[in-house]
Symmetry: none
Amino acid sequence: MNLDALYSELQLKPSTKMALLVMDGVGDIATKATQYMTPLEAACTPNLDALCKNGAQGRMTPVAPGITPGSGPGHLALFGYDPIEFQVGRGVIEALGLGMDLRAGDVAARANFCTLDNKGIVTDRRAGRIPTQVCEELCDLLAKKIKKIDDCEVLIKAGKEHRFVVVFRGKGLEGPLTDADPHREGLSIPESKAVDPKSAKAKKTAKLVSAFYEQALPLLAGKNPANGFLMRGIAHQPEIPSFQDRYAMKAACIAVYPMYKGLAQLVGMNKLEGCQTISEQFERYLAEYNNYDFFFIHFKYTDKYGEDGNYEAKRKAVEEFDAALPIFMKKMPEVVAVTGDHSTPCPMKGHSWHPQPVLIVSPISGWDKLDRFTETGANHGSLGIFEAKYMLRLMQANARQFDKFGA
Amino acid sequence: MNLDALYSELQLKPSTKMALLVMDGVGDIATKATQYMTPLEAACTPNLDALCKNGAQGRMTPVAPGITPGSGPGHLALFGYDPIEFQVGRGVIEALGLGMDLRAGDVAARANFCTLDNKGIVTDRRAGRIPTQVCEELCDLLAKKIKKIDDCEVLIKAGKEHRFVVVFRGKGLEGPLTDADPHREGLSIPESKAVDPKSAKAKKTAKLVSAFYEQALPLLAGKNPANGFLMRGIAHQPEIPSFQDRYAMKAACIAVYPMYKGLAQLVGMNKLEGCQTISEQFERYLAEYNNYDFFFIHFKYTDKYGEDGNYEAKRKAVEEFDAALPIFMKKMPEVVAVTGDHSTPCPMKGHSWHPQPVLIVSPISGWDKLDRFTETGANHGSLGIFEAKYMLRLMQANARQFDKFGA
């Protein structure tokens, strides 16, 4: 029996509030040589300390042992979706990261400008990393000239430097397609094809991509060094059962960065816009407390400084989050989870597979006799090390949302 | 590959004795506000302390993260059966709880007397909670008048107040059926139907239920307020591979309460009757030591007082169990497991999903440097947190019952 089906079968009507507080990439590693304590351990966190005295701790494997997730799988797991079952293409993630308003069925591609010689051979895959402003001008040009192809809308949005995103919107489109990218210089741009040659929708989409190239390449002629472009990760936004349908909870996302708003929107959460700082996010939570059952509040900077390998800044980011917590704690929901979507260890300057610590607080969570919320402490918690996709189920259990299984 | 098949393939002939000591619902939670220590932590347990100095500890997820099991799934998992694969209907569990001797294929229903008006509308679903004695008289009446329907035996047994159980025994019966219960007052009793309309056996069973109603209702006419009855959870006792076939061990159950004897009987264990106290149960174990390979010894009171939310009584129940342990320890089997079938935290007054602590003791179990057997200690144990269905496999491994896998 499918476990999700069992959870659905046991689900009762909820009457509780929950909040998921994500310190992106908060997990880190201690190393004898370079950092004896993790940023979370070294930070001064009186408010998290207070919170954890009513909570249970553990660590979560984001996807599977040894697998490092991107933000997409990392967050889908936190939202209770199996990140292997619900895969989201890179084009879709990129589009969400640029704040594009995607719909189910939209096909999105990561694109970047490149340099072509007069025989159409790729001589620079990144067009000499043109300035962002040039990229924006070129995208404006393309967007203005190519609004539709047949009955499909074409949406183009510039990213940083040579990067942009193309979205095709219309009926009967489907990915994934093979990359229109030779992945090295010295070759011409290969034609994008349906990965599954039996899918008529994917074949239609591949034709659309070819037609887009036919119309776009002439517009870029002479725009050296950006006289061509490559497209990768071409796939449609999958149908994902909405958070509300799956858990019978009305959910709001309070995030600053477009990527996380986009991921929340993928599962049908409401985006509450306009916040710039974690204090503002928590204030917004207080203001909207009565309007939603579930709040996803996202804090970016722990990940950002982890990616920079900036230990001191990551530690301070934790302290900034902690200092703002009392605002949130003015209205404690019945269940709170504090965690990350993955670890971003400073010594690695990037995401990793190391299980992130998690703290679940509710009147019935139990307390593991731990006085702080840290990686080392969480190793001793009653939640053990478990797959991140089960965290939301544990939150539901703490909210008494499940009936007893069997007599 | 199915893991059970792999275990079977690797299984060697056993030559060891094992005992599974279940303190029902022993797991609990610590909370800063109400109970700093769990009952297991607060109890004085010199004998468990001694035992655990030769053992490995961990915690067990009874079914899946966040899922609270009834006694049925809780014990099936302890017996090494996947509680999601082997589901037992509520009627069957109820019948086992009343000590009825069920056989594979028997269809059992939970029933209760209700009040009907002269149009057959249910006006009280519990017939004013008639005294148990009235229920027994009415059940005797029904049992005397309806012994067989066609070629099927009908067995009726009274429970407490308005509750009773009906069992249909015959060839070619099968559940599950829909409830003959409107689940609220103001409606008539719906006809029970096969859940799977393609099952000829279930359709035959549904006819049997209708025929039972046709014969029984006239017998109750005028017996106000109990002039009708409702039936729920109508299903057959599933075929479960027997403990002996599965593990090549002859197993005995030494329990006091009918429910647990029934669950043991479901997997073909021998019931050793007549004990009333845990001391008597352990004495019986000593007396039967040479007659079985595996002993399941069930202690109820940790669960009972957890359900009552009676912390002090639960702590004392642990101490009562501990005080009797030296009797058991006169003949130590090669492998002992001490655990619960789930947690029953006092603050929740009911079963929960919190992983129960487990202690496995054998000459090769290893010792985790833990001096006591507690929830918090078990968080640090070498067994980690694992699904309860694997505990029996670990016991087998400790008894050297598995060959090496691969070369």
